[in-house]
Symmetry: C2
Subunit: 400 residues, 2 copies
């Protein structure tokens, strides 16, 4: 391992994180209603004022996490913005007073515009509230987080009727990987340094892990996004659907769990099945970058963006391979990190305005020059950079 | 006007229509359950067996329309396939016995998998049933069409509650152009050579025309996909959204209406505002082809496929400019037809296997090589080719 290379990466990553946070701090705060504008053009100009609940929750999470873990971000303006975002969510995210169901998108002043029949708005609500509790010490945020978490668990494992999906005779009961991944992520969030929560959610955590691992199919040769509820392959496009970035993200979620629970078998599955294998099949040998979607049998996916290179799978790959290298010290894992790092820093970053472009064509050309939109906010890029910075710090500290 | 050029186009179009229909006749029929496979790979192989209701209805329409209007398609195998498709829809499309609401997608054997909270499955059901009545003479199909049509009108103009969209305080009441366009298309379908229907749906037709024309905004300089219910511009990305192919399609719907109702003012709007202007702003000067989406103020659209060149806007442009030329005899309109024709026949067609590619990158490279999928079936290509063939025949007949 080359110390100098690590220091260079460390420096570039810190600089990139600072530039990214500067972008959001400067352009995204709604001083009038609280919360954040997330539809920002390349230069940070607001091109749309509506507020996506996923992205409100994620930005609160990011601000609090950086505030409480990296000293240079422990600044009142950051905490205060997070609090106004959290309060905006508490006031407006729920679509009615007698339900925990949250909207997908709100008007600038907080009126519900659309609702998704899924649990994800609510999941990012939990992440926001738990971090806000940790950053402020205010108990009410923790209570918000736990109340919402318990409802999500009930919807997922007992009774989804409140989500509003009609029961249809041809609907295939599906274990979609996003759901247990999200639950595992929330369990890991809630149980950090908290014995009570660790006990409370321990069974949910191990259930989620087992649900995720069911997605390893084809005798270990592929991760499939959708499997049957008993862990078998589903027919058709749905069953053959692959999302390499998602598999890799699941990989580092599982690796965290394996390390904490000292489970070397799971650690191996996390690295081999969820990182190395999906990276191998998901990386575009011709133009570089990870494909967004693939079909395990090589059919053309029906998603129009299948061959686009999106920012977030690359952030997940950076975290995953650096974390895996930290745990295993296998130089091949660091080479994969380097491969992704070079692609990212030559294609996605924007030194002129900060934050990353989100959507490149297969050839690596910027296809949408927005920095934020309905699904891209202040989350994947800073989470990746902050986690990589911490891991690099640990590696560098060892060697001094 | 160059007779020889017209004859050449006529020949290429007939050949292309034959090749297209041969593709669907050969690969898409489900001999076991009736109806059609529409998820077909480049060579026609079925890669997914589920049945999208839009595409079932559209294929029945196409088969019947060709059967009854072009002698070379007046073949029993075509009518019989259409009948099995229509009967499949009658048996399976509705999600319950006490409602006209139809599914969006069915299992191969007809069980509802998903429902959209819109009226479009039902609209293509009407098109299928009306054509099936015209092709077979069987009254029950006409009754199916009218019963469904009246329910659609009730949902759109009186009470949408059965569609299942929750009423939310921040939801913006919107006149989305697709809805009146679809209704105008259905009125024109139902009233063909039918006095009773012409009287019955006359008011709906003129209402639809007036709703469509409201989408001309910015002092005539732009067609916007979504306007307020009183015909004003809406804020944000939704209000700025443009879909050039959709505007051009609306153009030929309006031109048909204007010709039938001898309305020269509407005819002018149809050609100038809905065809010429959207074509000007929607055509990619660098790589050719029509953009899928644009933002009227030049912001980057948030739809990932905004810069892709899709097959269907180009089919609409071929119909629109040839029809407009037929009505106005303005050589500039024929030049636009030629421009689109050349792009289409060099980029979308596939002489090896038939049918067109559906999705090209901005640069014109095939991005998805499927011939059919969740939104592409046996409809836009044959409708375009058949309509162009008829118009060219009329032009050529004049000159003999």
């Amino acid at each position: 391992m080359d110390q100098q290379q690590l220091r260079l990466w460390r420096k570039q990553i810190q600089q990139e994180l600072d530039r990214t946070m500067d972008f959001w701090l400067r352009h995204s705060h709604d001083q009038e209603y609280g919360g954040f504008f997330t539809c920002l053009a390349r230069d940070g100009a607001v091109y749309e004022e509506v507020k996506y609940v996923w992205l409100q929750g994620r930005q609160v999470w990011t601000y609090c996490r950086l505030y409480r873990t990296l000293p240079r971000f422990c600044r009142p303006e950051i905490l205060n913005a997070a609090i106004t975002g959290g309060e905006f969510l508490i006031r407006h995210a729920r679509i009615s007073a007698d339900s925990q169901k949250c909207a997908f998108v709100l008007t600038r002043d907080g009126k519900a515009m659309k609702v998704q029949r899924t649990v994800f708005s609510e999941c990012f609500y939990v992440m926001a509230m738990d971090e806000l509790w940790r950053a402020t010490g205010q108990r009410k945020y923790k209570e918000e987080a736990v109340k919402m978490m318990d409802e999500i668990i009930r919807w997922v494992r007992q009774d989804p009727s409140e989500l509003g999906r009609p029961a249809l005779p041809g609907a295939v009961p599906t274990n979609a990987m996003a759901v247990p991944m999200m639950l595992l992520c929330l369990v890991q969030q809630l149980e950090e340094a908290d014995e009570v929560m660790t006990v409370k959610y321990s069974e949910v955590g191990s259930w989620a892990v087992q649900q995720i691992v069911q997605h390893v199919q084809r005798k270990g040769k592929a991760v499939l996004e959708n499997v049957s509820e008993d862990g078998n392959e589903l027919p058709g496009s749905l069953g053959r659907h692959q999302n390499p970035g998602h598999a890799i993200e699941a990989g580092w979620f599982l690796l965290c769990y394996a390390v904490k629970h000292q489970d070397p078998e799971l650690s191996k599955v996390a690295i081999q099945n969820f990182m190395v294998q999906p990276f191998q099949t998901g990386w575009d040998q011709e133009h570089g970058g990870l494909f967004s979607f693939l079909d395990v049998d090589g059919h053309c996916p029906t998603q129009l963006e299948w061959n686009m290179k999106m920012w977030w799978p690359h952030t997940e790959a950076l975290i995953a391979f650096l974390m895996a290298y930290f745990e295993k010290r296998d130089a091949k894992l660091l080479q994969q990190f380097e491969k992704v790092f070079e692609f990212v820093f030559s294609k996605f970053t924007d030194p002129e305005h900060g934050e990353w472009f989100g959507y490149l064509s297969q050839e690596g050309k910027v296809a949408l020059n927005i920095k934020g939109g309905p699904f891209k906010g202040c989350f994947h890029v800073p989470r990746c950079l902050y986690m990589c910075e911490l891991i690099l710090d640990k590696l560098l500290a060892e060697k001094v």
